[in-house]
């Protein structure tokens, strides 16, 4: 009998229930009410879409309907590539369904090493570290790189994963106005000269699909002695001579210290990474909690990623088709009179700006029942309180599909009074 076993029974077997005034779930009443009001208006819930079947990179069955996918970030259409799928099958057969462990302990298999080598080859760098998601790559890199008394300087329209990386860390956080080189310069100039600084930028901002003036921003960062991290999640595969991203297209490869990316967009699976030429880069593996305290990616995922990345190195025809598709859709919607997020087709995202939530939901639903899926985006994810229908193109969209998409936008846009 242990000593504990001899203690008198003091456990209250019938504890008082938590009073309604202390119910932690009460804070969500506003959200619950807002969602209920939306559903009560009779619309399909935009945030509860189920893909019953996915038949190609550009087509799925939703609610029994054949639907063109125009909101998936599957930019290079690699998800059904036969070589990619074969690599995944082989890894499943040879290494099983999962790793059951951290990269640091038992979770590094042959293909984790192979995908990091594929990244080094793709980006032409000495260092590559793979994380379990793109979100965790930003979370881990930012919170680990920048310590107490140092500064993260970020664009106001940064992705949630960048903001959350800041929150997880202990650095001082400074924001500048979206894509403003002058605003970045002013703020860097007000910070203590001797303190370590990381400027965090994105090649393409995913809400409006606008591109950052990276060349000018990186030059300003370097003038003030700051290091630079560029998130190239929405540019991998189709900007620059080697498809490395906006930073390559604008010729600032020598001055960007860290590039963060994801496998869940152009690569066509899931996972995140950071690449760098810094001689001490490997130390991140020893210090980064988002890398250490989580399970590594399944072998089939890293095998498909490696196969896909190697094919993206020479995917010139896909790149050309993707840019052609972006120009086709952008031009078509613009000539119909829609207000778009960018004047020119600067990226593979075409954001249609609508007046308010009601119009956005009606438009989104009209397109869905016509057989077209786009993303609906609303504040606080969107800049300046806008309501967006966000279209993201795929290299596998055919000219005929884009023409049909433009036709659906015309019909539904007129029906809801958006054009």
């Amino acid at each position: 009998m242990t000593e504990t076993g001899l203690q008198p029974e003091t456990l209250d077997l019938d504890p008082a229930p938590v009073g309604p005034e202390r119910d932690l779930m009460n804070k969500f009443d506003g959200l619950i009410g807002e969602r209920q009001a939306l559903l009560d208006s009779g619309v399909i819930d935009p945030f509860a879409i189920v893909m019953q079947q996915v038949t190609s990179p550009t087509e799925a069955v939703i609610d029994g309907r054949d639907t063109i996918l125009l909101g998936t970030y599957n930019y290079m259409g690699m998800t059904f590539d036969p070589d990619v799928i074969a690599a995944g099958h082989a890894a499943l057969d040879d290494f099983g369904s999962g790793t059951n462990g951290s990269r640091m302990l038992n979770g590094t298999f042959r293909d984790h090493m192979e995908v990091e080598q594929a990244l080094r080859d793709f980006y032409g760098v000495t260092g590559a570290i793979v994380f379990s998601t793109g979100y965790m790559a930003n979370l881990g890199m930012i919170s680990t790189l920048v310590g107490k008394g140092e500064y993260v300087i970020l664009d106001a329209d940064s992705h949630a994963s960048i903001y959350d990386g800041c929150k997880q860390g202990v650095a001082e956080i400074v924001r500048f106005r979206h894509n403003s080189v002058e605003d970045l310069d002013k703020r860097l100039g007000r910070l203590p000269t001797e303190a370590g600084k990381l400027v965090v930028l994105e090649g393409v901002y995913s809400m409006l699909g606008d591109v950052a003036p990276l060349k000018e921003m990186v030059a300003v960062a370097k003038k003030h002695g700051a290091m630079v991290l560029s998130d190239e999640a929405h540019s991998m595969g189709f900007y620059g001579p080697n498809g490395r991203g906006v930073y390559e297209a604008q010729g600032c490869e020598g001055d960007v210290d860290f590039v963060v990316g994801t496998f869940s967009k152009s690569v066509g699976t899931v996972g995140g990474f950071c690449v760098s030429n810094h001689p001490k880069f490997e130390a991140i593996r020893l210090a980064c909690r988002a890398y250490i305290f989580t399970a590594s990616l399944p072998p089939s995922v890293v095998a498909t990623a490696a196969a896909s990345i190697r094919k993206l190195m020479t995917a010139d025809a896909k790149r050309a088709q993707l840019w052609k598709n972006a120009a086709h859709l952008h031009g078509g919607l613009k000539s119909l009179g829609f207000r778009l997020g960018t004047e020119q087709p600067d990226s593979a995202i075409v954001a249609v700006i609508l007046d308010d939530q009601e119009q956005a939901v009606r438009m989104w639903q009209g397109l869905l029942v016509s057989g077209l899926y786009v993303n609906m985006a609303r504040p606080p994810a969107t800049p300046a309180g806008t309501f967006l229908l966000r279209c993201s193109l795929c290299a596998e969209h055919s000219d005929a599909q884009i023409a049909r998409v433009i036709g659906m936008f015309e019909a539904v846009g007129k029906a809801v009074g958006a054009i």
């Binding site: 956080i173 400074v174 605003d183 300046a384």
Partner: protein
């Protein structure tokens, strides 16, 4: 006029373009509760205060500032540094 009063007046002038409801501005006026600003408005306002006084109000500091008086005190402290 005291230095604090001049900072208060300058902050109040910066609030006005964002004060859609015409809320009277005192030290106790809160940004979220009284002015009902969302996070985007707060961001624009903070940027204009930073430029007015040539200072940086980090997001860490912003998290501690709930009312106008706290902002005026923070600006006074940051300007002295």
């Amino acid at each position: 006029m005291s230095d604090r009063q001049s900072i208060f007046d300058a902050v109040k002038a910066q609030i006005e373009p964002f004060n859609k409801k015409g809320v009277p501005i005192t030290d106790a006026t809160t940004f979220q509760g009284d002015l009902e600003w969302d996070s985007l408005t707060v961001m624009d306002f903070v940027a204009s205060i930073e430029d007015e006084f040539d200072i940086i109000i980090t997001m860490n500091m912003q998290a501690e500032i709930e009312n106008v008086g706290q902002l005026v005190d923070a600006v006074a402290k940051l300007r002295d540094n």
